[in-house]
């Protein structure tokens, strides 16, 4: 068919047509080729720098190497807060064929909680492609071996090792050390976000919080080459992190555990200080909690339980608990009175078992009244007043000094203002005077309140640490230090900062200490019960503080009132008297009286002073 038509065609004309179209095609090809060349020229020459940067940014990633947190050791170098390797199980969605099924598998194998799953979902929403999203945190070696041993074989599962905080002694030290927790959004408001890139934990409470800037260290960086899947192929450049500084404490682990054991189930607190440095040898608040619970985030129910408990385990009673100091202030008042000439060591006060303000009917009872129906003796001097804790003596003294002078002489001992110890949450206590009451309560000061203040009751409040601090002043005859838990930060000594010396006659110190020695070593002393078998001399002072005010002249019956309304028992002491090496303050909440506190102190002093080492 085509052949027959061929005969009729004008081949030359067709050739001419083809030729003109070929020329048009060549023109078009040239133009298109020109566009292509221009495009490649524009990409490779004009925009080369931009794309080179882009290409480097693609492959080079700056990775943060978080610093290793400083560790905390006791005075003998035993680890109290350590960095423990744990494992994190994460998922790379892109490497799994069925991510949803993988999550289900992991949920079952690791028995993930709803809370963990929710956190995982939240993290998943912020992820980048090929990024590992953690699903299970804080698995230790054993857990990894049992539940997750073959998990890394599942496509998409990544098992990473990282350091987390571990408190090997748990409850015994939680109040001293505090704890770290996951860095939260609120934390980042006050922390330098740049220094915390890649860091998971930050101090929340206690030493961990107070020394956070030193414990944290400085992150390092490395430039790594990665492929499109984010896998690191090689390290191009590296700046090593600076690890956090280690803290060495004054605290002695053995003594701390002895103090915990001595308190037993008794609610309360113990503070033991080294009078030569102000260093905290032991600091216990009971009940306590396990700081390890907080490290990876405490569960809501656990936290609710701690928060809701009537026993307030989260309260560090040693520095946050404020109690009426009771008779433990008597030696301090005595010193002030001696210095200001209100009394001499020989001043005698008649003691019928009660005191009455001139022109007032109200009788202020001595504690002996309900036991013996009488006072301590016909006439009581300073030594006996301290040894037997004669209330009448101090009612009279307080009345003569007046509240403002009393507050003035007590302040140098550290009452009414926080000591400045290196932990968090410390309270001021209250050292009342007329100004304070007008400002705080808007009321005038009544003379009867001065009488209560004379035996450390009423508005007066002090923390166990403040009492220990004041006792240090007594032990050192005027000298004292800002209490400090930490001795050294790496090689730098931070403890042992001196406070202003309280100048006073040697005779005055002597007189008061004599009374305090009698508290323990005289048969009539209020803590004579702890003197049995003691191989050294103790100077102490008992105290009992009322939880509820008892109606005038009512007979105080311990059994009749509920346990939580029972008096707090207090005891402060130092030993040995001639060469003090330990100061102890004990409070036994609702212990009934000082009898619940003084044996605790004895046990702690025994433990410390029997130590062969003289550190």
């Amino acid at each position: 068919m085509a052949r027959t038509l061929d005969a009729l065609r004008d081949t030359r004309r067709e050739w001419m047509i083809n030729r003109s179209r070929l020329i048009a095609s060549m023109l078009a090809i040239t133009i298109v080729l020109g566009v292509l060349v221009y495009r490649y020229y524009s990409l490779q020459i004009v925009q080369h720098d931009d794309f080179m940067t882009q290409s480097d940014r693609n492959r080079i990633r700056v990775e943060v190497i978080p610093p290793t947190r400083g560790q905390i050791v006791d005075r003998k170098g035993r680890l109290l807060a350590a960095n423990k390797p744990t494992f994190v199980i994460g998922i790379v969605r892109e490497r799994s064929e069925d991510p949803a099924a993988l999550v289900d598998t992991l949920t079952e194998r690791l028995s993930l909680t709803d809370r963990e799953l929710k956190a995982f979902q939240e993290r998943s929403e912020r992820r980048r492609p090929f990024e590992t999203v953690p699903i299970k945190l804080g698995l230790d070696d054993a857990a990894l071996a049992t539940v997750a041993v073959d998990l890394h074989q599942l496509p998409g599962v990544v098992v990473d090792a990282q350091l987390t905080r571990d408190y090997p002694f748990g409850e015994a030290l939680s109040h001293v050390l505090g704890y770290v927790g996951r860095v939260s959004a609120e934390d980042l408001l006050e922390l330098d976000a740049e220094r915390y890139r890649g860091t998971l934990h930050t101090g929340k409470v206690g030493l961990e919080k107070r020394y956070e800037p030193l414990l944290h260290g400085k992150p390092g960086y490395q430039h790594v080459e990665t492929n499109a899947h984010g896998r690191v192929l090689r390290v191009l450049e590296k700046e090593a992190p600076v690890p956090g500084k280690n803290l060495r404490l004054y605290l002695d682990l053995d003594l701390q555990r002895e103090a915990v054991a001595a308190l037993g189930d008794q609610r309360g607190a113990v503070v033991a200080l080294d009078p030569l440095t102000g260093g905290v040898l032991a600091m216990v608040s009971n009940p306590s909690y396990d700081a390890n619970l907080f490290v990876e985030g405490i569960s809501y129910s656990d936290y609710a339980e701690l928060r809701g408990s009537l026993d307030t385990p989260l309260l560090n009673r040693a520095v946050q608990g404020q109690y009426p100091p009771g008779s433990t202030v008597k030696p301090l008042i005595s010193l002030g009175a001696l210095a200001r000439g209100f009394i001499t060591p020989d001043t005698e006060v008649p003691d019928p078992g009660w005191y009455r303000l001139p022109g007032d009917d109200r009788r202020y009872r001595d504690w002996t009244l309900r036991i013996r129906g009488t006072g301590h003796a016909e006439r009581v001097d300073l030594r006996m007043a301290i040894a037997e804790s004669c209330d009448t003596y101090y009612y009279d003294l307080a009345h003569r000094m007046g509240i403002d002078v009393m507050a003035e002489v007590l302040r140098p001992f550290g009452l009414g203002h926080r000591t400045g110890i290196d932990t968090t949450g410390e309270q001021d206590g209250i050292l009342p005077n007329t100004d304070w009451k007008r400002t705080a309560l808007g009321e005038p000061w009544y003379p009867g309140e001065t009488i209560s203040a004379g035996i450390g009751q009423g508005y007066m409040l002090a923390t166990p640490l403040q009492l220990a601090q004041a006792t240090t002043v007594l032990a050192n005859k005027g000298e004292s230090f800002v209490p400090s838990v930490v001795h050294r930060v790496d090689d730098l000594t931070v403890g042992g900062v001196q406070r202003p010396r309280i100048p006073m006659d040697e005779a005055a110190w002597q007189a008061v200490v004599e009374g305090m020695v009698d508290v323990v070593h005289s048969p009539r002393g209020t803590a004579a019960g702890i003197a049995r078998g003691v191989g050294y001399q103790i100077a102490g002072k008992t105290g009992t503080s009322q939880v509820v005010s008892i109606a005038q002249d009512a007979i105080y019956d311990e059994e009749a009132i509920s346990e939580r309304n029972r008096n707090h028992g207090l005891f402060v002491a130092f030993a040995p008297v001639e060469n003090p090496r330990i100061v102890v303050a004990v409070i036994a909440e609702n212990g009934g009286g000082s009898g619940a506190a003084s044996p605790v102190a004895r046990r702690i002093m025994d433990a410390w002073l029997s130590e062969a080492s003289d550190v």
Partner: protein
């Protein structure tokens, strides 16, 4: 007129000369030399793109060998034989194409393959050859330029299989197949006003095509072209990464086997459709220009073959094959560089893949046949 005369003189010279081995095998050496150079370059780039995988390179060499066998075979076939068989081939291919939706197998949501049990093939690849053969055969039934009625029928012949392929969906092949037919019509001398009105009509057709013919992913690719940053990690990823690879190559490149974009897996499809980005990254603009030069030589030789062909059929066929080859190159390099939508067109003789290489070499066999037939006839 003068060219025509010179061409006649040239053929006299050919007649006088003894036949070279290449001529005896009906091979066009001037066409094959730049083509071999491209293939060699391609093997080097593929070696790098596959991260030094000899297996991939060997399989590509096998593709080349099979393709050459086909080329050699086709070069021996007489052009008028092809012309006679064109309608049969076309109708057969069309039938197979229409069977694909019913019996086809496929992957990634596209049905392109027919399986005969022992062999799987794409009817659209057969159509790549059949289309120019058929359209050329159709328009040369009457004297050129074609009458309007012939043109309209020719367009029907083009659109029917192109649309079938586009709905598979395989937009890249549809464009190549459509273009190869359209080039025949263009070369046949359809008047310019007809071309323009046709182009206008095509533009009008884009609207319904956008609505009904294009799949979501195809629309996405076109939208991505306009703003690749809109979906950095999704559809835009390929283009951003390929542009980065090309751009970071600069004038002299990062060095052979040193491309970070390709070797660190940032560049997708680096052995197939996006292989030019590997070359551009490692060899720089120098390499790109060299490759373009080689392609230019092939196209120039192809057009020369068309220029000197004895019959209108040969001329139309040669130019359609050559221009389609040019479209391959331009569409591929354009899409990788981000000025054309990503439509899945391989870079001829460089991209890894058996089917396209065999089909391309088959068409080069036809070109060779056309190139050598003029001499046979002139004897």
């Amino acid at each position: 007129m003068s060219e025509y005369t010179r061409f006649l003189e040239g053929s006299d010279r050919d007649f006088a000369r003894a036949q070279t081995p290449a001529e005896r095998l009906h091979l066009d050496v001037v066409l094959l030399l730049p083509m071999l150079a491209i293939m060699t370059t391609g093997l080097f780039v593929l070696f790098s793109a596959s991260d030094g995988d000899w297996d991939t390179v060997n399989r590509q060499i096998r593709n080349f060998v099979v393709g050459f066998a086909v080329l050699l075979l086709l070069a021996q076939v007489r052009i008028d034989t092809l012309q006679r068989w064109a309608p049969t081939l076309y109708l057969g291919a069309l039938l197979l194409l229409l069977l694909v939706p019913f019996f086809g197998v496929g992957a990634k949501g596209a049905q392109r393959w027919l399986s005969l049990g022992f062999i799987r093939f794409q009817p659209s690849e057969i159509m790549k050859i059949a289309m120019p053969l058929m359209v050329a055969a159709w328009v040369v039934r009457h004297a050129l330029p074609p009458r309007p009625s012939t043109t309209v029928t020719a367009l029907l012949i083009i659109v029917l299989p192109a649309a079938a392929i586009a709905t598979q969906p395989d937009l890249g092949t549809a464009i190549l197949v459509g273009a190869s037919g359209a080039f025949v019509v263009f070369m046949a001398g359809v008047s310019w006003w007809q071309i323009f009105s046709g182009a206008l009509a095509a533009l009008v057709c884009i609207w319904p095509a956008w609505l009904f013919l294009l799949r979501d992913y195809q629309k996405q690719r076109i939208l991505t072209l306009v703003d690749p940053e809109a979906d950095r990690l999704g559809a835009g990823w390929n283009i951003i990464q390929s542009k980065t690879a090309i751009g970071s190559g600069g004038w002299s490149g990062k060095g052979y086997l040193q491309g970070t974009q390709s070797h660190l897996d940032f560049l997708p499809e680096s052995q197939t459709d996006f292989i030019i980005a590997v070359l551009a990254e490692e060899w720089g603009l120098r390499g790109v220009l060299l490759l373009l030069l080689l392609y230019g030589l092939v196209v120039a030789r192809g057009l020369w073959i068309s220029f000197t062909a004895q019959t209108s059929y040969g001329r139309l066929l040669a130019s359609a094959i050559t221009l389609t080859f040019g479209v391959y190159v331009v569409v591929n390099m354009g899409m990788v560089a981000g000025i054309l939508p990503v439509v899945g067109v391989p870079l001829p003789f460089v991209s890894f893949g058996g089917t396209s290489i065999v089909t391309l070499l088959l068409s080069f066999g036809i070109l060779s046949a056309i190139s050598t037939e003029k001499r046979v006839l002139s004897r």
